[in-house]
Symmetry: C2
């Protein structure tokens, strides 16, 4: 079945010390560093109510991921059985969207925002930012 | 700044009684009905470890949304001040990705799965499914 496709246009870019040469934690709560989210100037109005102290969900596009992969060994551990990617957070999946809960530490001109504990590589495109609906029940 | 764009290819389609003519709840816990997620056969391997009883995050592409909108009145209430869309869950946003926490009620051939409480319209494309990392802290 041939289906319609859609075009994703990044709204921001990650600035991070993490990259291909570095050790990347697999989830944001496993020692990931702070990062900057540098927004495109044209989405400034969409950003204007974000504040330091808020928790938000960042959606990224993991452009280096292999989109043809449908099963993986979770956490790249060959001891774990091959698992369908919809049951894992592997970047390898048909649409490589990353979902990251972060805390906003600082808002600056650009606009840009500094966030806590983000495991995405430097240069990763950001495609959306969403509020956490319940601070106690979402990550 | 001209940036790279990316192509989203739907992996499934929502089958739901909800549509343009119906009253659509704004969040899944406000009385949304059950729905079916009908996967494309070619992603069957990605689906194979999903089980009834699991909570998952569905990512949809809200194709009817206005992507040029940067501020909205939250919950379409004109009494609420205009707010940057990155501080709202409005479908209107630069990349109209919907994020829905649902419980899998049934897995069937196709593959397809029946899920609880989904506020998306019939025909909505699904772009990803992710496990909930902590059942108590994610929606």
């Amino acid at each position: 079945m041939q289906q319609t496709t859609f075009t994703v246009r990044p709204v921001a870019t990650i600035e991070s010390p993490l990259g291909p040469g570095a050790q990347t934690p697999r989830q944001g709560d496993e020692g990931a560093p702070q990062a900057w989210v540098a927004f495109n100037a044209e989405v400034a109005d969409a950003v204007r109510d974000l504040r330091a102290g808020q928790d938000v969900l960042l959606l990224t596009w993991l452009e280096r991921a292999d989109r043809t992969v449908l099963t993986v060994h979770p956490r790249s551990d060959p001891e774990r059985p091959l698992t369908g990617v919809f049951s894992t957070r592997s970047p390898a999946r048909p649409n490589p969207v990353g979902l990251h809960r972060v805390t906003i530490l600082e808002i600056a001109d650009g606009p840009r925002m500094r966030v806590s504990g983000l495991e995405a590589w430097d240069g990763t495109p950001v495609i959306d930012v969403k509020p956490v609906l319940d601070p106690h029940t979402e990550r």
